[in-house]
Symmetry: C2
Subunit: 422 residues, 2 copies
């Protein structure tokens, strides 16, 4: 007989309750789900004092534990941040309900009509670090897409997450939806994550959000499928037919607009025919914003005061004020470099050449491929998905920003009138 | 340092060559792929004598090993079967190329255009049993969708699969496509499968076809994602508002048209209000076709000479001339029964009632849900996908019949004109 540790038994109990709730939620109508989402926003605003009190407890513990300033900032739930959290839930309520949507319904020669209907996946397991706003975002997206969710936040945000989840569940109750649609895994035992990612048959999918090492560990050990976002080593390629103004604008925005995001450019490729004209002004614009450039030998001929980029640099997601630079001798060389060093996240070409744009779009195998636009656009809101629960660098099921549709599946429907197969 | 066994090294070599071929294939144009597919058909017909000679070697070995008649029949490559194999390849050539297809390209408020482009997945690993026609079908579908494939057929079909693969690769060569786009894993060592299903990063997806135990073993051990088809315990529910003629026609077709397929009905549910009128004629029609019925106590009141259906029966995919029967007292009871005992493959309701049809379509969570049509329609050709590489009972990535689209992924594309994010 299989033995279960107490924490496995606890996680299994949560997962079984989630599965029962998922069956109810799958049939829930749009009105009830939206009512719950608006109720969540209402209760978070109404109880913002109490949520901030819980948050201050986390902040005191985190300070005592010596957390750095950036992490403390991420953990802080200010009044404007709680307002933004509520607004996010109201925006999810305003999105169309994906569940039940029928696509491509067509008559077949046999006389039957065949199409696809969008359905919830079932039970989602969210594993995430510090930011407590993920609790509300993830729960809201899972609810709207008809899925039950089990939330496992970072231990440093324990009280904040509990306080938020309490309001979310109160809103479920008022809308007469099952409270177990949103559950928080609240044991400090780290083995709980191990149990969660192996709960095949009860949890349908795991979405981890956090550092690369967390996500790699989860992916390696999970037997439940994982939608993972490993890292973003994004490239901007300035083609020989690039417009200089657009090149400067796009490179600067892709690198500087926010330094720590996954769609920030980490590497700049420039065609050698225009490197002499374009690299110096691009470098000047980046340096003015405090960015350090690390270049290949060809780059250093034009900009001798740069540091040398090592092989390691080209593989690196800096998430900070550094960019690697390489001069390439062709579009093919640029695409080969991206295939070798890139992480398959987002890449942009700056070019006025039709054929180069067309080839780059088709041949680069990343989750987002762009022409004359900043890699910073790779985002659920910018793409019109509404909120996103993460960005997938996987190829299966969902790729790029994951919104409501990525949390659903499609079943086939067949309409007949006594039809049988010949 | 990690040690590799010789068979791991062999599989890794195959997978690395497949990955290199996949990068070429991803860019291959439709004309070259179709030329290769038509060449494959041509060479299989031209060399049918030699393929049959290889097949006879397998058949002699199989007979000596004492294989049963049904397995020997599945293994046999007759002239008509080779013609059908060639025709299948020509049909795949005639299908539209899914690669590069752009969908939903729309302008966003920021001024960028955002859409999705369909792309190959990369490298597919096919693991299958006896039928050698899978070799040609799978290779054809993978090629058309721009994927490299590694084929691992059953040992009993070893010479047949080799002979077929030789013709497929010859056609690749004539079309100037990389031969490594189609490779056969030809070691008799069973550890090769174990190595294949753990080749993360080199093989993108595993598709097993065969018995339930093979697929369960692969799913449990694989670290590469698996598109699996576990089993089909399909239901027909005859509602209280069913039309008797349609009910008889659909139940008989769903059960009898082919006994051994996954979309064959294994269980019949009948509403109690019509059981007295409908069960006797349905039972008579089934028995006339040699089908044994096993019923619940309510069924036995109407048909006292039936065997009793056990709890086990309701979980069973017979793949043979038996059907379990249960009388239910409502639509909800029918859907609860399907949720508990079903395998999520295909279920049909027979009803003239609009609301019952609508609820059944929405609430039953199976890969195909049908109204007044036989479950036997759950099939790639019937749905208009062309050939299918399998039927997925998973929910992620692809559900139901897997055709060309299921072998692809979508990346996001963004078109701008110097656009940056604010």
């Amino acid at each position: 007989m299989e033995k279960h540790t107490p924490v496995e038994t606890q996680v299994r109990g949560l997962a079984e309750r989630a599965r029962a709730a998922a069956r109810v939620l799958q049939q829930a109508d749009t009105r009830a789900k939206n009512e719950a989402l608006l109720g969540m926003a209402e209760f978070i605003v109404r109880d913002s004092e109490e949520i901030q009190k819980a948050n201050r407890k986390d902040l005191r513990n985190a300070e005592a534990a010596g957390l750095d300033a950036a992490s403390l900032d991420r953990l802080t739930l200010s009044e404007p941040r709680l307002q933004a959290m509520a607004e996010g839930l109201r925006e999810i309520a305003a999105l169309p309900d994906p569940v039940g949507e029928i696509a491509d319904l067509k008559f077949r020669p046999s006389g039957i009509q065949v199409g696809k209907m969008r359905m919830p996946i079932g039970v989602i397991g969210m594993i995430y670090e510090s930011r407590p706003n993920v609790t509300a975002d993830a729960a809201g997206l899972c609810l709207k897409s008809g899925n039950a969710v089990i939330l496992r936040g970072g231990s440093e945000a324990f009280h904040s997450n509990q306080a938020i989840a309490e309001r979310l569940r109160a809103a479920l109750g008022r809308a007469r939806l099952p409270l177990d649609a949103i559950q928080v895994l609240d044991t400090p035992d780290r083995a709980a994550v191990g149990a969660m990612i192996r709960m095949r048959g009860l949890i349908d999918i795991i979405i981890p959000r956090g550092g690369k090492s967390l996500i790699e560990r989860i992916s390696a050990e999970a037997t439940v499928p994982v939608i993972k976002h490993l890292h973003g080593n994004c490239h901007v390629y300035v083609d020989e037919f690039a417009n200089l103004d657009k090149a400067v604008r796009i490179v600067v925005n892709a690198k500087v607009q926010r330094l720590g995001t996954c769609n920030t450019a980490e590497s700049l490729l420039v065609h050698q025919a225009v490197a002499g004209d374009m690299l110096p002004p691009i470098a000047a614009a980046l340096r003015e914003k405090g960015i350090e450039l690390r270049g290949c030998p060809e780059t250093l001929k034009l900009l001798p005061d740069l540091a040398v980029a090592t092989e390691e640099d080209y593989y690196t997601e800096y998430l900070g004020p550094i960019i690697s630079v390489k001069v390439v001798d062709s579009l093919d060389a640029a695409m080969d470099h991206i295939a070798q060093y890139g992480s398959g996240h987002s890449e942009a070409i700056v070019t006025e050449d039709y054929s180069h744009a067309r080839r780059f779009l088709r041949e680069v195998d990343s989750s987002s491929v762009m022409v004359n636009a900043s890699t910073r656009f790779a985002d659920g809101f910018e793409y019109g998905l509404g909120a996103e629960i993460g960005i997938s660098t996987d190829k299966l099921h969902v790729r790029g920003p994951v919104g409501l549709e990525g949390l659903t599946t499609q079943k086939w429907i067949v309409l007949g009138d006594g039809h049988v197969r010949q």
